[in-house]
């Protein structure tokens, strides 16, 4: 019986072949490949070509090859292990044993296939990410540098518009200058946005914490936007919770920027109806107050499928010309809110309106009564001046900037201005002249402005420790600002500056 079963169920998968020294078949059991006596074994596969090269003919050999792909005449593929036995005795023919392990190797192939594919995919993904990141970094650095460079010529434009306005001009000319000025301002704002966004993206923007009067900020916004709403013929509603601490700690400028940005946005997209600005206390814990802030409008709204995109850089949903801007406002807002450890979300329905909701924690002093801020409001400090004439040193290599400062100061009538264009000469001049104030460009040939400041501060000359030094720069990264202060600069005037900014700062420090 066993023999019958063997006959029925045993499928031998091994072929035995004997060959002569030149590779011709002597005998074969043809289990896998059919070969006749005299056939070249090489006809099965080139694998067998040049076989003799594998062996040392002087002795007996036994060599195994694993996982060899062979094809029989009917195009059927086998994956086999192949064994060779050769004998030093020339009367003994060589033996070839072919084991068919196709099933086993097919399984192994599948395993290898999925392993290799997943390894390669992850390598490719990793590379793509790396490439994307490099591209992104390049983009951000490029944008930052480029917008920075744009600021210098723009300073010339804005400063000279102010100067030009003071000259004798016809009304028509005055109007044109006004147009130039407002276009330049618009451009300046947009460049500012782009620079700001790229700073957020490269992590160069930091949030300051200072004590300020939060109620006052809200009142100011309330006033501004009530007026604006009247002009636009829509309603502005301020819903402010008076229990909120008057003084809180935070970055006043940035908080104001976030609110203004969202309010401007709401106004921009609302033609009829109402904009509601609501600031509510959520809870207090330890020395922190948690605020729910929302800015709601009845404007055009955002289509559902686009909501996820609106905080991305460079997206303005309505790309039609109707609404101008860089489209960066909301992504800057989001970046700033997140830097303050807050959250911002939006709910919106097309044609009904949008509601931007924020949740932000602020520190506040427990004792609000004794908190007073010295009123540093930038009112005209002019009236406090004590001297007839003030000596001012301007260290600046750009002729455009020199002219701008010169014109602005000349109009005031009580300034002597020394201009030095080269870093090296500054120190010399500071030693020999008694200046009341120094305006210091940062990027200058020779020595940089911040280095010069450090040197001046260490000079053994009487007023060098105290003389106000103001940086004039378009380098606006926070690290830079900090460094300038550390080097001994009192304040920074950002390029592009206009007449008012420049004079305000100068008067402030001359006081």
């Amino acid at each position: 019986m066993l023999e019958t079963y063997r006959g029925t169920y045993f499928h031998p998968r091994t072929q035995f072949i004997t060959i002569d020294a030149s590779g011709n078949v002597l005998e074969s059991d043809n289990v896998l490949f059919s070969l006749k006596k005299g056939d070249e074994i090489g006809s099965v596969s080139p694998f067998f070509d040049g076989l003799s090269a594998y062996f040392d003919l002087e002795e007996d050999n036994d060599i195994k090859f694993t996982c060899i792909h062979l094809e029989n005449g009917k195009k059927k593929e086998f994956t086999c292990d192949i064994e060779f036995k050769t004998f030093a005795d020339p009367s003994q023919p060589s033996l070839v044993i072919i084991h068919d392990f196709t099933d086993h190797y097919d399984y192994y192939q599948e395993v290898a296939q999925s392993r290799n594919e997943s390894v390669i995919n992850s390598q490719v993904l990793e590379l793509q990410n790396k490439y994307l990141k490099e591209k992104e970094d390049f983009k951000n650095t490029f944008i930052a540098n480029f917008s920075h460079e744009l600021r210098n010529p723009l300073t010339g434009v804005t400063a000279f518009c102010s100067v030009l306005q003071k000259t004798d001009m016809s009304t028509e000319q005055q109007d044109y200058v006004e147009v130039i000025k407002s276009s330049a301002d618009h451009l300046k704002n947009m460049i500012g946005d782009i620079l700001e966004m790229s700073k957020i993206e490269v992590g160069k923007l930091t949030i300051e914490e200072e004590l300020f009067n939060f109620h006052e900020l809200i009142e100011l916004l309330d006033f501004t936007y009530t007026v604006k709403a009247k002009q636009k013929n829509i309603v502005f509603e301020m819903d402010f919770d008076d229990k909120i601490p008057r003084y809180i700690e935070g970055d006043k400028t940035r908080i104001k920027q976030v609110f203004e940005n969202l309010l401007e946005n709401a106004f921009k997209f609302t033609a009829t109806g109402k904009v509601t600005f609501s600031v509510k206390e959520n809870q207090r814990r330890a020395r922190k107050v948690n605020l729910n802030i929302s800015i709601k409008d009845t404007g055009i709204g955002i289509p559902a499928e686009k909501i996820a995109l609106i905080f991305n850089s460079f997206t303005q949903l309505n790309n039609a010309q109707k609404y101008s801007g860089t489209g960066l406002g909301l992504s800057i807002v989001k970046g700033l809110v997140e830097l303050m450890d807050g959250k911002i979300t939006v709910e919106s329905e097309e044609g009904v309106g949008s509601n931007f909701k924020m949740n932000i924690n602020f520190k506040y002093p427990i004792n609000q009564e004794n908190t007073s801020l010295d009123d540093k409001s930038d009112i005209e400090n002019k009236n406090f001046l004590t001297k007839e004439k003030y000596n001012i040193l301007l260290a600046e290599d750009s002729e455009l900037a020199q002219m701008a400062v010169l014109k602005i100061l000349a109009q005031e009538g009580h300034f002597f201005l020394d201009i030095i264009t080269n870093g090296e000469d500054v120190i010399e001049s500071v030693i020999h002249n008694e200046y009341d104030l120094i305006l210091m460009d940062i990027r200058m040939p020779g020595t940089n402005g911040d280095e010069l400041t450090k040197m001046i501060r260490s000079l053994p000359v009487q007023n060098c420790k105290t003389i106000p030094i103001l940086a004039i720069t378009a380098n606006l990264y926070d690290d830079d600002k900090k460094r300038y202060k550390k080097m001994g600069m009192n304040d920074i005037i950002e390029k592009p500056f206009d007449e008012t900014t420049l004079l305000k700062k100068i008067y402030k420090y001359l006081k």
Binding site: P46, I120, Q123
Partner: protein, 164 residues
């Protein structure tokens, strides 16, 4: 007419295009599907190395390994020439290029070896020029199994060296 047969082996990481290079050389076809080779496939193609002189190349298409030392020793028996292939787009496939090549030149000092950066169609010529040092060793050819660039040249050059 003289006719010799020479065994050459393609080595290199998996997925670098060894099988594709051979397919392009032998059949003039290319497919973007990736079928992982396990063990070895052996193909044959005759190449004219001189007027009236052909050589029959027996080409061993090996399974890719990330470590050359794992190559089964039996496969390497009686090899006349090596082609080491890497993928110019995947650093993992040329990170150890220098070591692998040193290993081969030490172990098989007399066996001709060609170093090939494949998938050149995926990068620009400028990229290859500017990043020449990235591979650690100067490759003999930058090929594309997809477009066929330098594929015939690679095999013919090697074949000619084998019969010298």
């Amino acid at each position: 007419m003289k006719k010799a047969s020479k065994k050459i082996i393609l080595l290199g990481h998996f997925g670098v295009g060894k099988s594709s290079l051979i397919r392009q050389f032998v059949e003039n076809t290319f497919t973007s599907d990736y079928k992982v080779t396990i063990g070895v496939h052996i193909l044959k193609k005759e190449v004219e190395v001189a007027p009236d002189e052909n050589v029959s190349l027996i080409i061993w298409d090996l399974e890719g390994y990330d470590d050359i030392k794992k190559t089964r020793a039996s496969y390497l028996l009686g090899t006349h020439g090596f082609i080491y292939v890497f993928d110019v787009t995947r650093p993992a496939t040329f990170e150890n290029l220098k070591n692998d090549i040193d290993y081969l030149t030490n172990q098989y000092a007399k066996t001709p070896l060609k170093i090939v950066g494949n998938k050149a169609d995926l990068v620009t010529k400028t990229y290859l020029k500017e990043n020449a040092n990235m591979f650690g060793v100067q490759p003999n050819f930058f090929t594309s199994a997809k477009t066929g660039t330098k594929v015939d040249e690679l095999f013919t050059t090697l074949a000619k060296e084998l019969v010298k």
